[in-house]
């Protein structure tokens, strides 16, 4: 039983990090129908910035805030510098722009920070918490808590605020939204900025557990993308569910069967879900407009 609980805690922690990345995919996808392959690199930039701002003597909490803001600025910059100039390009072309941007960000990070792995201390210490035979680092609670907080905040933002509703309107029909007086350009900057912010938050809260490195965004981006597809692209609940399913599957596989097949099982699971539910667990059925 203690073993099971241990795997559960591990799975939920990993799952939350995947979920946070998946949420970033959702935000951008909802606003622009672009899959932003630089999302994983936002996570990397968040973590790396936090580590390096802290190492220059800035107090931890300030460093965390600055790192998150850098992530947000990077997201907005990606839209301003990469997506907007391409104007009315197809989604596919825009996706390729994000792939290019991801490579560029990674390259710059390589030049600035080098190839090493970096870590930072947990927000509230590194003394593990033990209960019922389960061990958990305090940072895991931060990861889980922040994920819950962000999901709640996003849900409120999209259902309770005018701005949130404007984002939704833009995602449903950009032209109609424009006619209704919504500044869609601003909404898109906002969405990319939020995605960057979210990525950076994921980066700073997971770095004490997973470490960070200029290439860490590749794997995270992939797993986050898988989680968001699993849950149904564009669905926030789906992104969280997808992330948790992926994380729990990995932990249970590694724990009970064999870590050799861990990744394979996660991907087989995705194939199965997509065979039987092509739009993911919580995705809306695609409606073809003729």
């Amino acid at each position: 039983m203690a073993e099971f609980l241990q795997f559960l805690v591990t799975g939920i922690t990993i799952g939350c990090t995947f979920a946070l990345v998946a949420l970033g995919f959702c935000l951008v996808y909802n606003a622009s129908h672009v899959i932003n392959f630089a999302q994983g690199d936002f996570v990397m930039v968040g973590g790396m910035s936090a580590v390096f701002i802290m190492s220059s003597g800035v107090p931890m909490w300030l460093a965390l805030v600055l790192a998150v803001l850098i992530g947000g600025a990077l997201g907005a910059l990606l839209y301003k510098g990469g997506i907007q100039p391409a104007k009315n390009a197809d989604a596919i072309q825009l996706i390729i722009i994000t792939v290019g941007a991801a490579l560029f960000i990674r390259g710059v990070a390589h030049v600035i920070w080098g190839t090493g792995y970096f870590s930072m201390p947990g927000f509230t210490g590194d003394t593990p918490i033990r209960f019922l035979g389960v061990v958990m680092v305090p940072q895991s609670l931060w990861v889980i808590g922040v994920t819950v907080g962000i999901v709640t905040a996003l849900a409120l933002f999209f259902t309770r605020t005018r701005l949130g509703k404007a984002v939704l309107a833009t995602s449903y029909n950009r032209d109609a939204a424009k006619l209704m007086g919504i500044d869609t350009g601003m909404i898109l900057v906002l969405s990319f900025g939020l995605a960057g912010l979210l990525g950076a938050v994921a980066g700073v809260i997971m770095t004490p557990i997973t470490f960070t490195n200029y290439e860490i965004g590749v794997m995270l981006g992939l797993k986050g993308f898988v989680a968001s597809v699993l849950g149904g692209l564009g669905s926030f609940v789906g992104a969280v569910a997808g992330g948790l399913i992926l994380g729990l599957t990995e932990a249970m596989m590694a724990g009970y069967i064999s870590s050799d097949y861990k990744d394979a099982v996660a991907f087989v699971l995705i194939l199965l879900i997509l065979f039987f539910m092509p739009s993911g667990l919580f995705g809306q059925r695609g409606v073809e407009r003729v």
């Binding site: 591990t10 922690t13 590194d126 470490f211 490195n213």
Partner: protein, 385 residues
Amino acid sequence: MLKKLLPVVALSAALIGIPGQGVADDDPIRIGSFLSVSGPASYLGDPQRKTLELFIERINENGGVLGRELEWQYYDDAGAANEARTFARRLIAQDRSDIVIGGTTTGATMAAAELFQRQQVPFISLAGAVVVVEPVKEWVFKTPETDRMAARQVFADMQQRGISKIGLISGTGGFGASGREQAHKVADEFGIEIVMDETYSPDDSDMTAQLTRIRGNDEVEAIFNFDFGQAPAIVTRNYADLGIELPLYQSHGVASEGYLDLAGSAAEGVRLPVSPILVAELLPDSDPQKAPAMEYLEAYRAEYGEKPSAFGGYSYDALMLAVDAIERAGSTDPQAVRDALEATSDFQGVTGTFNMGPDDHMGLDIESSFRMVEIKDGTWSLLDQ
């Protein structure tokens, strides 16, 4: 037209062995290198480039070798095996290297090794795996310790402590997979049984599940983690967080300051085999590796302001072995240099004492190369052997 043809002519001349021009005594000695200076293995290749650059320059300042200057040509293969092969071909055919030092990774080395065999150019590899020199290839030598030696060293220490049943946890990447295989091969020699055998993928960010499984087996008396990069640091932290009381061993793959930084206090008490260069300052003066290691360390630190790594040490040894062989051969004739390399005996390098032979193109033994250390107060401390 002529310009286009020139390389072709030069290439065919080199291939069929027509000397392009007579080799005069004052011609430079050409040393060629292909290293992974950028890309995923850059933390291995970068110190190697720095080392070769620095010490070739120093040798030239002191009058060169056999009164001839050393001329160094290097290429960056960025860790890609196909690039390594292309550059190796260029070093042989176009740059007409007298000897080649390089092949930072096992992949790069193995992709190029066959070219050196065919073109009969002496090649000293900087790659770790046993396959580089097993089976012995006439023209291929190497300086780094093998993963098999690391496994033996760890098992010997376990045996001394009376440990006989262990849990092995390794990465599925090249280094971890090869290490795991070697660990299984040599465990018997030390009366050690691997009762748990777990793996993780190199990108994993949490190994709690695997460690929980190992902990669940009451027979396990010690845990051995064979891998390199950041994953062993995560294993170490998870191990400490889980409060596992069993001794933890790591391989030489983590022997760097980076591991100490990442694993932090979780690494207290971890034991591992390391290259002498890492603990040069701690070695007693009677240690044969003390003098060469200190010489290398001080020169490197003076130039680059940082401590050299074991990986840089491999290239230092390769260069010094090459110089030694050329001096003993009295020329750069490939056959003579190769024979001299193979006859290397009692050569004190920074990685260990080299004693090569027709059936051993690495020439290191466990006693002179690896030193067992335990991590105490956040730094390495030598174990008495």
